[in-house]
Amino acid sequence: MFDRINCLLKRAKRSFRRMRAVAIVEALRILRDRTSFSLVVLVPLLQVVLFGFAVNLDPRGVSIAIAGGSPSSQEFVAIHADGTGYFSIIIKDLKKGHAEYKLEAGEVDIAIELADASEFFDDENADDFPLAPRVIVDGSNVSAVAPALAALEKQILSGLLARLSDSVEDGSYTPPAIKTIWRYNPERRTVWTIMPALIGVIVMISMLMLGALALAREKEQGSWETFAVMPIGASEILLAKLSPYVVIAGIQTLLVVASAVLLFDVPIVGSGILLFFGAILLAVAHLTLGFTISTFVSNQLQALQAAIAIYLPSMLLSGFMFPFNGMPSWAQQFGNMFPLTHFVRFARDVMLRGADASTAGIHLLPITVFVLLFGSLAFLLVRRLQA
């Protein structure tokens, strides 16, 4: 019995030694791969910072325009809107119809059109109250405005009730019904706001990864040396290597758009061609970024880790999942550095709001600058690799 226990102990000890040897080698290999190791530390750190300090499910800084009614009724609405804490840009003193115009121009998220008192009462005092407010909401990003709108409606109604408590009690005055119109997404379908952004997210992830792997794979397999000694220029390599991926990005875009339209009835109010062009531009932006990464890394694992370290903040800060305006200013500035942030706005504008090239094109400008910047950088780095 004792011998058997002794034997088992010896076997366990030998097994432990073997496992320890394997574990040490594994640990050493992780530690020696500095890029992978630093990314192992960087990615969780990034997540903690972004989720802890940047991402906020409550929207902030929702813009609102108030038009019509009397100056005092506009003031009434403005004060109550401010009181909710959700709104930061409040435009008032607009003539009737102009708030809606500003919403259509994409300048505000919510437009409040107040009726003139003379339409309802002869009483001069009636001018002080927002009568039959018509609230028009940009439904292209439901989650970013819905909580703000709910708070606003509640605030205005409670304000009115407080001021008119006597009249309400004796039945001489009924608070006006707030008529809310969801523009661009009448049924407030969240999927309508997700799908346009999802095109960008899918294109971003796949193109960033494919771009990052492009040269990393060549370096790892040894075929890069062939490129280096062949009579082919850096720009030729860059353009030729990226072109098949652009086609893939095009196919991906068509697939997602077709699924969105056929399965979820998402409309394409604007130009489909413009949307396609934007998606291709986004693909090129991430391919050049991925290509830049692949000039630095030495293997495919490092390339993928670096891609994850980039697409994670890009996705979180783009306004795709969480309200962009709810984030602190530094996070918004950081988010604006990523092409996806601009594409999300562009795609919602084109698909839901029906924006044309002159309006939505403004969102493509930062992406174009990004392409030029990282395209040039990738070119220089490939040329350096060749030399």
Binding site: G222, S223, E225, T226, V229, M230, P231
Partner: protein, 310 residues
Amino acid sequence: MSIADPFFPATTLISAKNIGVSYGNRIALQPLSFEVISGEIFGLIGANGGGKTTTLRVLSGLLPTSVGQLSLFGQTGREKTIKHQVGYVSQSTSLYQDLTVRENLNFHAGVHGIENHEAAIENVMVLFDLKPFADTRVSSLSGGWTRLAQLSASVLHQPKLLLLDEPTAGLDVAMRSKVWQHIDRVARQGTGVVISTHDLNEALCCTHAVFLADGKSCAQGTPNQIFAQADITVYLIKNNDLYRLDKLIYEIDECIKCSRENDALRVVIRKSATHKFQKFCQRAGAEVKTVELSMDDASFAFLAGDSDSV
């Protein structure tokens, strides 16, 4: 020797003047000078770690020189026109493993802008006996056929200069001979071939060579001249007490290296000490047999004697 062919007037393809490579304070290649002319097979020979691959990487443009001047076809730059005239086979497989042989050749033909490339590919596949493997993925080929496919891709555009980094490493004798047949044929057609090898027999197939050991040029000339400069003879000796023999052999100052080989000792001795060595063997009652020297022996000889660099 193909360079004597009157139909191919020899032209200088490579002119290296004191080229050297260093990484910070570490010198990977000490200043080295040589010339390669068309139609010759120029060997970068020596034991492992001598600097052969470094030199070849410098010649191919993969590595910049830290000192010296290197010109290919009379030009110091690496313009596309120069690259068009160079073929390169690296030590690792530089073909796309997931593509077939034909697809790889198509890629090479495309990048080199070969006109009528289908005919050129057919031609090269016939020359290298690759027709049966045309539609086989490179990953499915044996090491030897992969190397031949690599070689065929590197000569597809008929370069004037072919750089081969240990093209026969890991191949069996039959495949080595096949690879060398192709190297010979290419050289006979006027292409200058620079080949790195640590195999003595292959080194002897070169027209000219430079012997590299520990990152420096130890000797230069024809292979026979180089090995003569090593000034050594290699013997196998054995008696009943190899242990004692091993200790005593170092009494001969000119003994460069002594190592156990099966039931005998392999002894590398300077030629000048031949008489002394024979006397020693007589005294020890050892059987003596002369054997062919290896690249390692020559490396030891050059380094031990701190031979004059050429």
